[in-house]
């Protein structure tokens, strides 16, 4: 196991530190506990779109990326159904720059008109590039839509449809920021050529503010308790048929989840797995097969 040290600031920010003195690099990783899980119908994809806006400049730092690069670093982020995660890798000697940058966009994000409109277009292009402009790209849209009756896992993080992305208003965005981007809804992880003392000092210096409003996140509708089999057939111009099967499993923090995870590996992880051997290598109908578990906060598949 990786050893780490953990402490919580007064304002609720959870901090984890892993010291690795063999490295001259540090990574500053700030995770917000918000994802497409916290969206509602009609405003789907907002969490992921908001991730783009987090790079659009803050009150004291007009150009986020330039300042990361000037410090010899690089950065990126990703959004999942359950969380949005931002990370900066940079020379450990410049680590305070990362604290300055993350602090400013947690408390003082600009949310300018230019950024809102340009990133709307960028995300629509991302939607087309990844989900519409290639065979099977929208398979998960269909699958999730069948697998959930009402829970927000019903749509992928990119959003249910392009129209939703086109429809976000300035108020939607500002409200989402105030509701979810706050120290008591975040986990800061710092690893690499750093010490716990230094990280504690920097965390207290740059994340000293409390959130001004009580924490009331948008939570998903509980999934209806249904059983039985649902089937959906989609016709499209693709090279060959593809079959997707989903089975409901437990939420990540239960022991049943671990069983499901192991089971899916036995079925389809690695060349010796059961389905690979029986259906791909020794069968006539399958060119490839794979399996995974969604491992989500609420029950997944």
């Amino acid at each position: 196991m990786i050893d780490y040290h953990r402490f919580t600031l007064e304002n609720g920010l959870d901090v984890l530190v892993h010291e690795d003195h063999s490295s001259k690099i540090a990574v500053v990783n700030l995770l917000y506990k918000v994802g497409s899980r916290n969206e509602r119908l009609g405003k789907t994809g907002l969490a992921h779109y908001f991730e783009h806006l987090m790079f659009g400049g803050s009150q004291h730092i007009p150009n986020f990326d330039t300042e990361v690069e000037r410090a010899g670093g690089s950065c990126n982020a990703f959004t999942s159904p359950d969380l949005t995660n931002y990370y900066i890798t940079l020379p450990a000697a410049n680590i305070e720059t990362a604290f300055w940058l993350e602090s400013d966009r947690m408390y003082f994000l600009s949310l300018g008109e230019k950024s809102i409109e340009t990133q709307r277009k960028v995300v629509v292009e991302e939607f087309k590039q990844r989900y519409l402009n290639q065979p099977y790209g929208d398979a998960m849209h269909h699958l999730r839509d069948e697998a959930y009756a009402q829970h927000a896992y019903k749509w992928p993080t990119i959003g249910a449809q392009v129209a939703d992305i086109e429809g976000y208003t300035r108020e939607d965005v500002a409200h989402f920021y105030a509701m979810h981007y706050r120290p008591d809804n975040a986990v800061l992880v710092v690893a690499g050529g750093v010490t716990v003392e230094e990280v504690r000092r920097l965390a207290e210096k740059w994340f000293d503010r409390k959130a001004e409003t009580p924490f009331m996140p948008q939570v998903p509708l509980p999934e209806a308790n249904w059983s039985g089999k649902k089937t959906k057939t989609v016709f499209a111009d693709v090279p060959t048929d593809a079959l997707y099967k989903a089975y409901r499993i437990a939420e990540r923090r239960s022991t049943d989840y671990l069983k499901a995870d192991l089971l899916s590996d036995m079925l389809a992880f690695g060349k010796s797995s059961l389905l690979e051997q029986q259906l791909v290598k020794n069968g006539k109908h399958f060119a490839s097969i794979s399996a995974y578990v969604t491992g989500s906060i609420d029950p997944g598949f």
Binding site: S23, T66, E69, R70, V122, E125, Q134, S272, V280, A287
Partner: protein, 389 residues
């Protein structure tokens, strides 16, 4: 390259792809399928037994299929490496080429060819490469499903007997000691090898005609623009390398700032340098909103021109210097990456000193120099433009 910080061992064995210009299509496919078939069964073990064996020992065998190099690599734990090595070695000479496995691999390959054709961005890259190197050249060939149909077990067996393992090189990294090093050398010491036949290096150099492959149903247009460059040892290489970073080689690049962050025409636009044994090539890629294709193209060429003609602002130069210097720290922080960086220079006859010179250049370069050098390569008749969608 011992890298004891990681409790795993990686051994890659890379051999030269034979340079047979007479029937490049079949020859390259023979190489592809022969290599794939090595782990589908040997005289001692069935394919299923091999799969079970490597998985059970927490080990992974990978097939490396490059334009110029093919081979196998083994990733294993320190604990299992010694017991897995002899079985890994047997893949190199003991394959028995079961017919039904070849049939399956052929069907899988045909499907992946069809998929590549339907994915506009993959097809654009394929067309680009084909035109850059020439459709008759092995680097530029486009295999068809009919070519795959024509491959027989006999082709694989012949390739295996007559052409595989030309001048192989063993690359070893991870946690190993003198004993395991000697074991590896003894295990591979009797691998029969042959001399490599050179691959012809004549490519089209001028591209007066732009290529546009329209696709009605496409939602985006995939743009590929590029040209031939020089080898890494050439004095123009480092200036061009830095020039490319400014233009499209990092997230703060001119292309990202204009085409994505200002105009929102694309999700991503990048330019990069591809590497071959004798030279490098340059490619710019973006998938853009279809109705804005002409605007995107115009702005791309405008950014190239501005990069070539206008003085580079000091602030931007500082950002690029710092960004690159920092990227060197992370580039060499992972044990297995280190070997990949070595391979990249080794194939052009250089060693790790190349990276020291590169870092020094990043710190010292004169903006005017990189512009003067890039001008030689980024002139219109030398630039190939391919658009699909």
């Amino acid at each position: 390259m011992p890298t004891p910080g990681i409790e795993a061992v990686k051994l890659a064995v890379l051999a030269a792809v034979p340079g047979d210009a007479s029937s490049p299509h079949l020859n390259r496919l023979s190489a592809y399928f022969t290599l794939k078939m090595l782990s589908e069964g040997t005289h001692q073990h069935s394919g299923e037994q091999l799969d079970q064996f490597f998985d059970f020992h927490a080990s992974e065998v990978e097939h490396i299929q490059g334009l110029e190099q093919i081979g196998l690599s083994l990733l294993s734990t320190k604990k299992h490496f010694a017991s897995v090595l002899p079985v890994f070695r047997s893949l190199f000479t003991e394959a028995n080429f079961p017919e039904e496995r070849l049939d399956k691999l052929k069907k899988q390959k045909q499907l992946s060819l069809k998929l590549r054709f339907q994915r506009n961005n993959q097809w654009a890259s394929q067309r680009f490469r084909s035109l850059l190197f020439g459709p008759e050249h092995p680097y530029g060939e486009i295999s068809t499903t009919e070519d795959v149909d024509a491959i027989t077990r006999e082709d694989c067996v012949t390739f295996f007997r007559e052409q595989l393992w030309a001048e192989p090189v063993l690359y070893l990294s991870g946690q190993f000691d003198e004993v395991s090093l000697r074991q590896i050398l003894a295990t591979f010491g009797d691998l029969p090898v042959r001399a490599a036949e050179p691959i012809g290096q004549k490519f089209p150099m001028h591209f007066p005609e732009k290529v546009y492959e329209a696709r009605e149903e496409a939602l985006q247009s995939s743009i590929r623009i590029g040209t031939h460059l020089m080898p890494k040892a050439h004095p123009d290489y480092l200036p061009f390398y830095v020039f490319n970073v400014f233009l499209g080689g990092y997230f703060g690049s001119r292309l990202i700032k204009n085409i994505r962050e200002d105009k929102g025409l694309t999700y991503g636009i990048y330019s990069s340098i591809g590497s071959l044994k004798h030279q490098e090539y340059w490619m710019l890629m973006a998938d853009v909103e279809k109705s804005q294709l002409q605007l995107a193209l115009r702005e791309i060429y405008l950014e190239i021109e501005r990069m070539l003609e206008e003085p580079l602002p000091e602030d931007e130069v500082e950002v690029v210097r710092n960004y690159l210097a920092g990227s060197f720290l992370s580039k060499f922080s992972n044990a297995f990456d280190l070997m990949e960086h070595f391979k990249a220079v080794d194939k052009q006859g250089l060693d790790m000193r190349f990276y020291e010179a590169q870092l020094q250049y990043v710190k010292d370069f004169q903006p005017a120099d990189i512009q003067a050098v890039a001008k030689k390569y980024l002139q219109l008749p030398r630039l190939l433009e391919v658009v699909v969608g």
